[in-house]
């Protein structure tokens, strides 16, 4: 039985600057069932990242949700205060972002920063915290846990840093992981390692994942369900196979054709005949 974990309805958001205010989201609906991996896909400016930020209450200055609801389990996230949201973020909802290096604080080693995350959410003593950090570094496929725990971010390769970021996002045992372009900027072979890792963690930890991406390949190969966004709206959503194999909307069709580049290849080959 599938159970709804995250339910976003009619989300509207605007960003106010000194003089004007611009509507960014125009009624976004998004549903994520427990244990699923959901892809939120769109191009630059589609509102996909802003949707993710609105869900966890991390809006940019001037950003304001003007309508809609965000229900996480039985909690109304939009009704929460900033202090209450801080409790949710990093505990029940883990987050990872595109550039692993900027997600890590340069002056603390990996163990110190993971330990700080634990301190702010869980009541554990130092030995328990250290054990938990080590356990989670192992969980994300790091062999050499001792060295990585004591390493500073600049000492890690891109793939290793992203593994550490994932470990940090999971260290307080969230039920939902929000990953905003988690593999953009990584080399292709490392991208696949990280996606396989997220998939295996999803099974091991009964985790639900909302993955925000511009890459339909990531959605096609790793997600169960998908929402296609453009211009602040979800234009199509559903099971990945049905959306990608039988797209109903023009925009989805265009995005699939552009990702595949098959038309250009066909045209080139025809010209060479």
């Amino acid at each position: 039985m599938s159970e709804l974990l995250l339910d976003v309805r009619g989300l509207e958001l605007e960003i106010a600057t000194r003089r004007t205010s611009t509507a960014i989201l125009h009624g976004v609906d998004l549903a994520l069932d427990a244990g699923q991996m959901h892809g939120l896909v769109g191009e630059t400016g589609s509102g996909k990242s802003m949707t993710a930020r609105a869900i966890v209450g991390l809006l940019p200055p001037g950003g304001r949700v003007t309508a809609g609801s965000v229900t996480f389990g039985d909690q109304d996230l939009l009704a929460k205060t900033e202090a209450e949201m801080r409790e949710v973020r990093g505990a029940a909802i883990g987050m990872i972002f595109q550039n692993p290096r900027t997600a890590l604080y340069p002056m603390l080693n990996i163990e110190q920063q993971m330990s700080n995350v634990i301190k702010s959410h869980l009541d554990l003593d130092k030995a328990e915290r250290v054990a938990r950090v080590r356990e989670h570094l192992g969980l994300v496929g790091i062999d050499d846990v001792d060295r990585v725990a004591k390493a500073y971010p600049h000492e890690l390769s891109g793939g290793m840093a992203q593994r550490a970021v994932i470990a940090m996002a999971l260290v307080c045992g969230p039920s939902l992981l929000i990953a905003d372009e988690p593999t953009t900027g990584l080399d292709a072979t490392i991208q696949r390692q990280i996606l396989e890792l997220i998939r295996s963690l999803q099974d091991q930890l009964t985790l639900s994942v909302l993955i925000i991406t511009h890459d339909l390949g990531v959605v096609a190969q790793y997600c169960d369900t998908v929402s296609v966004m453009t211009e602040g709206r979800v234009v199509e959503d559903g099971a990945v196979r049905s959306v990608l194999l039988e797209p109903a909307e023009e925009y989805t069709k265009k995005l699939i054709a552009a990702s595949d580049l098959g038309d250009i290849r066909k045209k080139r080959l025809a010209a060479q005949q």
Binding site: G141, E155, G217, A220, A258, I264
Partner: protein, 352 residues
Amino acid sequence: MTDAGTDAPDDVAATDYAIVVEGLQKTFRARRGQAEVVAIDDVSFVVERGQTLGVVGESGSGKSTVARCLLGLTPVDAGRVEVLGRSIVDAKPKELRSWRSEMQIVFQEPLESLDPRYRVRDAIGEPLLLHTDLRGDQLQARVEELLEQVSLATELGARYPHELSGGQQQRVNIARALATEPSVMVLDEPTASLDVSVQAEVLALLVDLQERFGLTYLLISHDLTTIRAVCDRVAVMYLGRLIEVGPVDQVLTKPEHPYTEFLIGAELSVNPDVKPAAPVVQGEVRSGERPSGCVFAPRCPLRMDACEEAQPELRAASEGHVAACLVVGNKHDLASVVDDGPPPSGGHRGIN
């Protein structure tokens, strides 16, 4: 490197090559006494006139350094580099400047390649002022013609770069490159920072321009989908070495080098029913200490003792298709040698 270097069929006369690179070597040194970084190690390839060679590789593979050496933007340590029959290695700076009208480059970041203070028409007019006698109305007419060739409205000529979208900015860079009627264009990740739909439009434009003007392209890309769509041949690089070269249809459907196979496996199809063609490769590219044998050996599941002893030379797999691997021609199955368990960081020991 031996005669396996140039991978061209023998029946093509040397004059049909727009680009000839042989035994290219480039090492960077930050400061005297500091560690050296071998960016390119004994790389050889040729590109026939009017064709597109894709150079694919991950971070640190040396693909962008190849592009820069080709245009004389980075001096080479050793090797032969010829573009349109002229030796880039021996050229004087003045000669290079005058040749540059025939060999142009388009970079990844469209906005960074444009001077923010130049209007579009002045940006496109600049190479014409440098390399042609066109002035006044004639120059403006040529600028408008170039705008039309890259499908930009004439009115956009009055805009500044920041007023354009990323795709429009890249079209301006392409128009600038085209202005001096080059024969060779190096495209260094020309669409990597563009949105998917814009990327497709810009690639379609590049293909059209090639057909129209008979351009020779060297396309640097990390993206196999792009390579497959627009290239005739592809060269795969890893840690500064060329590990496989051949026709796109051969290399990307029947790869001989295990790394190429993993790279193809990392390409994620937008069709959910088309599953990755290879298992996941463990480990990461190691910078720093270079393996004495095959550069890929530390991550390779097919590694044998011989792989760590010497760099494998390029061996012929089929016509025009070579790979630097001891297993060339032998059937192997990566899936059977790679564990399919939860992904550990594997061969990557410690911190890179």
